[in-house]
Symmetry: C2
Subunit: 354 residues, 2 copies
C-alpha cells in the first residue's frame, strides 16, 4: 500500500491535496489518508491553521471556499507527517526547499519517491540548480517533477486543465504519479525528460516579460505571437545546450507551449512588464514590483539576469537575442521598444537556426 | 534579372506588394518594378481601381491609407501582368485559384517559379487538396508557400511579425523568396516542408473554433491553453498521417505555433465560436456567421467538417478527439460544453500518444 504525504500547504499545495485525495479514496493500491504538512500559523481568530483545516476540511487561509476531501489530514509536525510516506509531494515556496530538505535527511523511508511541484529554480553561473536534483541529492531518492499550465484557483474550481510529469528513468514510478494526480478535469501525462519539464517551468517567465512589454507597447497579436514563438525556440535551445537529453517533444506538452501561453496571457510577469513599457521604462521593475506585487519577487526579471550570466560565461549571448533583450531592457540598458528591434542585427544564418 | 508579378490585389496581396516593392528597389538581382494583377472594379467615384492605384500608389479599396511603393504597377490584364515574370506570387481568394490557374496555362514563362500565400485549402474526402499542388500540377512549375502569423493590417503598419516559407526541394528558390519578402519588421525564414506549412495554415482554424468556445464558456486561461496545446498536437499528428514527410520542427515556426496563437487570440473563427457558446449553442453557426461576418464563410467550421470526413473514411476519428468535438459541436450534435469533456472517454494509452 502506498502512503502519500504532501510537503507544503499553500495555494497550489492545497489544490494538489484535493486532487490526490479524490484519487486515493478510489484507488486500491493507495491508503485513503493523505497527510499534508502545514507550516503552522495562528489565524486572526487565535486558532491554529492545521486545526481549522482538520475541522473544516478547508485551507481557510490559502484556498478558502474549497473542500479538500475528508481524507486529507493536516499535520504541523514535519517529521511525523513524512515518517510513513513512500510518496512525497514537494510543494513549498522555492526558497524554503533547501531548508526543508536538510531537515528531512535521514527521516524519510528508504524506499520513498519524490515529486517536485516547485517552479522557479535558480539559474546560477555554474548552471541551473534544478529543484528535483536538490531533492534527489540531499535525500538520496528518485525525484520526478509535475509542471504545466496550472493556475491553482482554476483547478480548484475543477475547470479543465493539464499537467506534465517529467521523470528520469523509472516509468512505473511516473505512471503512479500520473494515477495519483489525474482526474477528469486535470489531465496528466508523463514524459521521460525531467530537465526539459523543469527548465520550461523556469524559462517561460522570461518570455512572459517579453510578452508583457509587447502589450504595454500596444502592439498587435502578430507581434505578441512572434515573440512567444521566438521565446519558445530559445527555451528549447537553451535547455538543450545545458541538458543535451532534453527532447523537442517536451515543448508540445502542457509544461511547454501550454504553460507558456497561460503565462503570457495572464500572470504577474506579463502584468508588471506591461506597466514597465506603458511607463516608457521610466519606472524601474523594482519599483513597479514593490507597488504591484506587494513583496513578491518577479521571477522573470530575476531569471533573465541569471540566464544572462550563464550566457556570458559560456559565450552564448548572441544565440539568444530575445533572452538578451529582456535582460537588457529590464536592467535599464535599453528602452522597452528594443523588444521588437533585437532581431535586426542578427545574421540570417543564425536567425534561421533559432 | 528577376521579374516579380503578384497575382491578386486584395488586403494581403497589397501588403505583399508593399513588402516586395521595398526589396526589389534595393536588391540588384531584381528589377525594381513589381507588377500586380488587379481584378478590375469600378469604384463609386466611377474610376477604375487599377487607375487609382497607379495614380495614388494606394489600394484605396483593400488597403486604404498605405503607400505601396512607386515601383508597384497595377495591371488589370492578367496575361499582360504575368508574361514577363519569372516569380509569381499567388494571393487571390481561395475559391478563385482554380479558375486563375486554368487561365494561366501556357501563358507564363517556362522558367517561372510560384509561391502561394493562399490560406484555407480544401480538405476533401480523398485527402486535402493543397493549393501549392494545384498550382504545380496545373502550371507545371515549382511552387512554395508563405504562411505565418500575418494579420495584414498589422504588417501594413510595419509592426514586427514573422512568416515561414515552405519549399519542396529547391533551397535556392526558397532563399530567393525569403530575400524578396524579408524586411526589418517582417522576418521570414524557410523550411523544407511545403505540406507541413500549408496544413498548419488550414488546421489552425479548427483549433480557433475550440478556443472561441472556451472563451464563450467563460473558462480560464489554463483551459484555453490546454485546448490550444491539444489542438497543436492534433494538427501535427493529422498532417503527419496525411504527409509522412511533415516535420515536427515546422510547428515551432511562425506558420505553426505563432499563427495558432494569433488565430486563437483574435480572428473571426474564434469570435463566432465565442458567440455560439455564449448562446448555449441555440443559434447555429450558419445563423451567427451570416449576422457577424456578412457573407464571409467560417473557415474553421468548414474545415472541421472536411477533416471529419477524412477521419471517418480512414478510421482515424478516435485519434483526434478535439477535431471530432469541434465537428460534433459545430454541427449541433453536442452542446458547447462538450469541448472540455471530450477528453474523458479516451483511454489513457491513446491520450499519451497525442
Amino acid at each position: 500500500m502506498n502512503n502519500v504525504t504532501i510537503v507544503g500547504s499553500g495555494n497550489w499545495g492545497s489544490v494538489a491535496a484535493k486532487l490526490i485525495a479524490s484519487n486515493t479514496i478510489n484507488l486500491r493500491s493507495f491508503n485513503d489518508e493523505v497527510r499534508m504538512w502545514v507550516y503552522e500559523e495562528t489565524l486572526p481568530s487565535g486558532e491554529k491553521l492545521s486545526d481549522v483545516i482538520n475541522q473544516t476540511n478547508e485551507n481557510v487561509k490559502y484556498l478558502p471556499g474549497v473542500k479538500l476531501g475528508k481524507n486529507v489530514v493536516a499535520d504541523p509536525d514535519l517529521m511525523n507527517a513524512v515518517k510513513n510516506a513512500n510518496l512525497l509531494v514537494f510543494v513549498t515556496p522555492h526558497q524554503f526547499m533547501e531548508g526543508v530538505c536538510k531537515r528531512l535527511v535521514g527521516k524519510i523511508r528508504k524506499d520513498a519517491e519524490g515529486i517536485s511541484l516547485v517552479k522557479g529554480m535558480e539559474v546560477k553561473r555554474e548552471g541551473p540548480s534544478l529543484i528535483s536534483t536538490l531533492i534527489s541529492n540531499q535525500l538520496g531518492i528518485n525525484c520526478s517533477v509535475l509542471m504545466g499550465a496550472n493556475i491553482a484557483d482554476e483547478i480548484a474550481k475543477e475547470e479543465f486543465s493539464e499537467a506534465t510529469v517529467g521523470y528520469r528513468r523509472d516509468k512505473a514510478a511516473a505512471e503512479r504519479w500520473v494515477q495519483l494526480f489525474n482526474t477528469p478535469y486535470f489531465s496528466v501525462t508523463s514524459v521521460q525528460d525531467v530537465e526539459g519539464v523543469e527548465m520550461c517551468g523556469t524559462l517561460k517567465n522570461i518570455v512572459a516579460v517579453a510578452a508583457g512589454l509587447i502589450d504595454g507597447l500596444k502592439m498587435g497579436n502578430n507581434t505578441k505571437a512572434a515573440i512567444m514563438r521566438i521565446g519558445l525556440k530559445e527555451m528549447l535551445a537553451f535547455s538543450k545546450l545545458l541538458f543535451p537529453s532534453v527532447k523537442d517533444s517536451t515543448l508540445f506538452e502542457s509544461c511547454g507551449v501550454a504553460d507558456l501561453i497561460t503565462t503570457c496571457l495572464g500572470g504577474r510577469n506579463r502584468k508588471v512588464a506591461e506597466a514597465f513599457a506603458l511607463n516608457g521604462g521610466k519606472r524601474s521593475f523594482d519599483e513597479l514590483e514593490e507597488q504591484m506585487l506587494k513583496g513578491q519577487k518577479l521571477q522573470g526579471v530575476l531569471t533573465a539576469k541569471e540566464v544572462h550570466e550563464v550566457m556570458v560565461t559560456r559565450g552564448w549571448v548572441d544565440m539568444f537575442p530575445l533572452f538578451k533583450a529582456v535582460y537588457e531592457i529590464s536592467s535599464g540598458f535599453l528602452p522597452p521598444t528594443a523588444i521588437v528591434e533585437f532581431n535586426n542585427n542578427i545574421p540570417h544564418h543564425i536567425k534561421n537556426k533559432l
